[in-house]
Each structure stands twice: as C-alpha cells, then as structure tokens.
C-alpha cells in the first residue's frame, strides 16, 4: 500500500474541484495508466475528468512521464492538460 500525493492543474484542477489529495494506492496500480483506471472507479468526478486521457499529461515527481511509466516509489503524481506557456 503506497501513499502518494496527487496534484491537479489548470482545467483538471477545476474539473475535480481540488488541487491536491493524499491517496493510498492499491498494489494493482503499477503504471500511470493503472492509476487512472483505479481512480475512475472511485468517483464519477474522476470518470469525467479522466475521460479523455489523450488530452492529459502526467508528471511523476516533477518529471513528465508517459502513461506506461511505472509509479513504484513515486511520491507525487501530477495530472494536467498539455502545457501552454511561453
């Protein structure tokens, strides 16, 4: 059972109505993809916010990561739309 901080930015933050939460992840969640699959079973808000994973990006411990990246040992996982700075 791994404790992890989940962060949400921009439209993800607004859709979920929160910017961070602490979660205890199930052992079945080995990748970002698994984590999303588990989250969307927790609440309809997640199902809606994660409905289009192709329009989402993820960072594990502040580094951009693909959805098949392993999350073992991660302390902070952030979800957000593609960035639009500059």
């Amino acid at each position: 059972m791994a404790h992890v901080t989940l962060l949400y930015f921009a439209s993800m933050r607004e859709k979920l109505g929160r910017e961070m939460e602490e979660r205890v992840l199930p052992e079945s969640a080995r990748t970002v993809h698994d984590l999303i699959g588990w989250l969307v079973t927790q609440d309809a808000d997640y199902a809606s916010a994660f409905a289009e994973p192709a329009k989402l990006r993820c960072a594990i411990d502040q580094v951009l990561a693909p959805f098949d990246a392993p999350i073992a040992g991660a302390r902070e996982i952030a979800f957000f739309p593609p960035v639009t700075g500059g």
Binding site: A10, A59, Q62, P81, P82, V83, G85, G86
Partner: protein, 146 residues
Amino acid sequence: MKSVRVQPEDFDPGGEMAALGALGSGGVASFVGHVRGDDNLIALTLEHYPKMTAKALDDLAEQALARWALDGVTLIHRIGRLVPGDRIVLVCTASRHRAAALEACAYLIDRLKTDAPFWKKEEFADGRTSWVEARQSDAAAAERWD
C-alpha cells in the same frame, strides 16, 4: 552563466541583455513574448506547477548549454494575471557565434512551450473565460529539435 526565474513581476529585457553582453561573448540574442489582445481578450492568467517549473526551465537551459557554444542563458517566465501588451516570457543567450545564440533562442522558446508546466486561462470582454488549448504547431516546432 545560467539564470532561470519564475515571477509575477515584469522583467527588463534591456537589463538582461546587457548582463549577458557583459560576459564578453560578442553576440546576444533574445526573444520576448507579449500577451496579444486578439478576440477581445482582456487578460491572461498564468498558472504553473511550482515544484516542477524551476527544474523544467533549468533542464532546458542545460540542454541549450550542452548543444550550443553559449556563454550565458537567461530564462524568465511570468505567472499570474497579465493584460494585453504585457511581457510574458524572455529567452536570452550569449555566444561568440551569432547563429548559435539565435538558434539556441529558437530552441528554448520552442521547447518551453511544450515542456514547461505553465497553463494560460483567457478572460474576454464579454466575461467568458477559457483555458488555452495546446497547439499542434507548437508540438511540431518542439519536435524539429529532436
């Protein structure tokens, strides 16, 4: 010399260029992005991921320093609410080689637009707000450096 800053305050492009000019390289290139007032836009609010932003910008600066013969790199990105005409971002490079300075500027601004965790929310004159969508052209511009 490497300087990376994320701040709500405006910055001084002339001062930043002079600081890199003082390194003695001979050539200083820069790019400044301003808020455009298209479509009755009245403001942009820039949100970021504080713990990640400084590291992402620092990584970009290091990549440019590794790829071109640069004596200095300065990256500044503003956050918070900005209005049309305001400066948003500065990229500035110093090199003995003018092509290196200018190419590194192009690289840094292209990559910043796809790799640094900033998001823009637009406010329009009619009260509507919307998050800016990432553009495919920005992804393509960043990929040309791969």
